[in-house]
C-alpha cells in the first residue's frame, strides 16, 4: 500500500525572497523517512525537545545544500524547505509558477516520491 499522492506543497517567498515550500505529507514524519531523506550524505540534525517538555515534538533539520534547508517536526506531517542563497535575490514581482525547479528541490521531492512509493502508509491508500 502506498500514498496515491505522497505530498501537497504550497510555494511562497521567505523574507529574503528565497523560495519557501511547505510540504504536507500523506503520513507522519518518521525516523525511517528521515533516514531515507539523508541518503547521499545530506546532514541531518535532530533537537530533542521532548527530552525537556514531554508534550513537545523533536525538531529536525536537513541541510540539502549550502543554500537549502528543510525543517520540520518528527511525528508531524508537514515541513518547510527554503531554497536559494541568502542575499542573492531582491524584491519585486515574481511569478512563482515560472520559477525553474531547483536541483535541491528536485532531489528532495524525488526522494519523497521514492519513499512513499515503496512504503506502506497506514490509513492512506
Amino acid at each position: 500500500m502506498s500514498c496515491s499522492k505522497p505530498f501537497n506543497c504550497s510555494v511562497s517567498r521567505d523574507c529574503a525572497f528565497r523560495l519557501e515550500v511547505k510540504y504536507v505529507l500523506c503520513s507522519e514524519i518518521t525516523e525511517s523517512l528521515l533516514d531515507h531523506l539523508q541518503t547521499g550524505g545530506v546532514p541531518l540534525s535532530i533537537t530533542n525537545f521532548s527530552r525537556h517538555i514531554p508534550e513537545a515534538k523533536d525538531l529536525f533539520s536537513l541541510k540539502l545544500s549550502d543554500h537549502s534547508v528543510a525543517t520540520g517536526l518528527v511525528g508531524g506531517n508537514e515541513f518547510v524547505a527554503t531554497y536559494g542563497k541568502f542575499g542573492e535575490k531582491t524584491g519585486g514581482d515574481i511569478d512563482l509558477g515560472l520559477l525553474p525547479v531547483l536541483k535541491d528541490r528536485q532531489g528532495l521531492e524525488e526522494k519523497l516520491m521514492a519513499f512513499f512509493s515503496q512504503t506502506a502508509a497506514p490509513g492512506i491508500s
Partner: protein
C-alpha cells in the same frame, strides 16, 4: 555544539559571554534597520561610530580570549578569530592574507552585506561597517598592537552587487571613533517577581533552546533559524552605536536631538519584534517546543517571554497580562547594563529595544493574531504597528536610571 573558545552561560541572569563580551541574539532585520537608522542621519558622521563600535568589541573579546586560552602564535590566533566570526553568524572570513602591516582580505559571505541587499536592495556604497571595524580590532588583537593601530576601508561590497566583500587594513591610526569596551558591566541584584500561573515550563524551554545548533554554518558562516538570519552579536556593539547616535543627536540639536533619537531607536525594537518574534512564533521550533503548552493568548505572551530569555537580553518576566495591559519586568536588561558601564547612571530611560520589543509582543499576539500564521510583510507591519489601535509602551522603571530593574507597561 563545540567551539575552541569558552562560551560562558550565565543562566540565572539569562546572559551569555564570550571573551568577557556579552553576546546576544538579533536578526538581520534588526541589524540592517538599526544601521540604516544611523546612516540616514547624514548630518552626523555615523560610519565612524559603526566601525568604531565593532573595533571596540572585537579587540576586547579577542584580547580576552587569547589571554584566557593562552593562545600566543599568530596562526592559532587567526584561526580562533575566524572561528568566532563564523560561529557568531557574521559570515566567513580568512585572515591568512593579513600581517602586522595590514593587507587586504575578501569574503563571499557577509551577514551585513547580504542582509542589506535583501532588505534594502542594491547599495550605492559599501555597507559592511561592522566587518571593517571587526577586522581592525581583530588584527590589532592578533598582533598585540594597540586597539586603534589600523584603519579599515571596505573596497568592495556584495550589497553593491560586487562579487565579494573586500577590505583593506592599513597601519597608521584609526579612521573611526575609538571606544573602550565596558566588558560585561555590573549586574544588579535580581529579585524574581511573582508572575501569573503559566503552563510554560520556562526553565525547560531555556534548556531546550540552548541545545539548538545556533552557530554559523560551516560553509556560509550564517545562522538560519526561526525564518530569519540570526547573529550572536555584541551587546556592547548595539549599545555603543545606539547611545553614541543619541549623544551625537543631543550634542547637535540639544533636547530636540534626544526627542528625535527615542522614536527611531524604539522603532528598531519594533522591527526586531515583528520579524524575530513573529518569525519565532511561526516557526517549527515554536510549534514543536512551545505551542503544545499554550491554549490562550496570555500563554502565548508567556511562551514568547520564555524564548526571549534564551536570547541573552537579560531576564524578562511578564508579571501581568491581559488584552488591555501587560507589565514586563526586565532584570539586567542589556541596554541598561551597557549604558551604566559606558556612561554612568542615565538621566532618562534608555531601554529602547526593550520598549519596542514589549510593544511588539502585544501587537503581534492581540492585534496580529500571530497564532493564525499571518504573512510577515510590510503591509502587515503597518497594519499592526502604525495603526491608531496599536499598543504603546511606557518605561515606568529604569535600571539605567537607578531602579532595581526595568519595568515596561504596554497599553492599548
Amino acid at each position: 555544539m563545540t567551539t575552541s573558545f569558552p562560551v560562558d552561560l550565565d543562566a540565572p541572569h539569562r546572559r551569555c559571554l564570550v571573551g568577557n563580551e556579552p553576546v546576544i541574539f538579533h536578526c538581520h532585520h534588526f541589524n540592517t534597520y538599526l544601521q540604516q537608522t544611523l546612516l540616514d542621519a547624514e548630518y552626523l558622521d555615523t560610519p565612524k561610530i559603526l566601525v568604531g563600535a565593532a573595533n571596540e568589541a572585537a579587540f576586547h573579546q579577542l584580547t580576552s580570549l587569547f589571554d584566557r586560552q593562552a593562545v600566543q602564535a599568530v596562526p592559532e590566533r587567526k584561526k580562533l578569530a575566524e572561528e568566532l566570526y563564523r560561529w557568531a553568524g557574521f559570515g566567513k572570513i580568512d585572515l591568512s592574507s593579513l600581517t602586522a602591516e595590514g593587507g587586504t582580505v575578501s569574503t563571499d559571505y557577509s551577514h551585513y552585506s547580504q542582509a542589506w541587499k535583501v532588505k534594502l536592495g542594491k547599495a550605492s556604497k559599501p555597507v559592511d561597517f561592522f566587518t571593517s571595524g571587526w577586522l581592525a580590532g581583530a588584527l590589532s588583537a592578533v598582533y598585540d598592537l594597540p586597539q586603534d593601530a589600523f584603519s579599515a576601508t571596505q573596497l568592495k561590497c556584495m550589497a553593491k552587487e560586487d562579487e565579494l566583500n573586500v577590505f583593506s587594513l592599513t597601519p597608521g591610526g584609526p579612521n573611526y571613533a575609538v571606544y573602550t569596551s565596558p566588558a560585561g558591566g555590573t549586574l544588579s541584584k535580581q529579585v524574581i517577581q511573582e508572575t501569573p500561573v503559566s503552563p510554560v515550563d520556562e526553565d525547560a524551554v531555556f534548556q531546550a533552546l540552548g541545545e539548538l545548533p545556533l552557530a554559523g554554518d560551516p560553509d556560509t558562516g550564517l545562522i538560519e533559524a526561526f525564518g530569519v538570519i540570526l547573529t550572536r552579536h555584541y551587546a556592547n556593539y548595539y549599545n555603543r552605536i545606539s547611545f553614541e547616535f543619541e549623544r551625537e543627536l543631543a550634542a547637535t540639536f540639544g533636547m530636540e536631538g534626544l526627542e528625535i533619537a527615542e522614536p527611531l531607536l524604539v522603532e528598531s525594537g519594533h522591527v526586531c519584534a515583528f520579524n524575530t518574534f513573529g518569525g519565532i512564533m511561526k516557526s517549527m521550533e515554536w510549534q514543536g517546543l512551545i505551542q503544545p503548552q499554550l491554549s490562550t493568548k496570555e500563554h502565548w505572551v508567556q511562551g514568547m517571554v520564555a524564548c526571549i530569555n534564551a536570547l541573552g537580553w537579560g531576564r524578562w518576566q511578564a508579571v501581568e497580562i491581559s488584552p488591555g495591559i501587560a507589565k514586563f519586568i526586565i532584570h539586567n536588561d542589556y541596554e541598561s547594563i551597557g549604558y551604566r558601564a559606558m556612561y554612568g547612571r542615565a538621566d532618562h530611560n534608555i531601554s529602547y529595544l526593550a520598549k519596542g520589543a514589549a510593544m511588539g509582543i502585544m501587537d503581534l499576539i492581540y492585534i496580529g493574531h500571530i497564532e493564525d500564521g499571518p504573512t510577515l510583510d510590510p503591509a502587515f507591519y503597518n497594519q499592526l504597528f502604525k495603526a491608531e489601535h496599536s499598543y504603546r509602551g511606557e518605561v515606568v522603571k529604569s535600571l539605567a536610571m537607578g531602579d532595581a530593574y526595568t519595568e515596561i507597561h504596554v497599553l492599548q
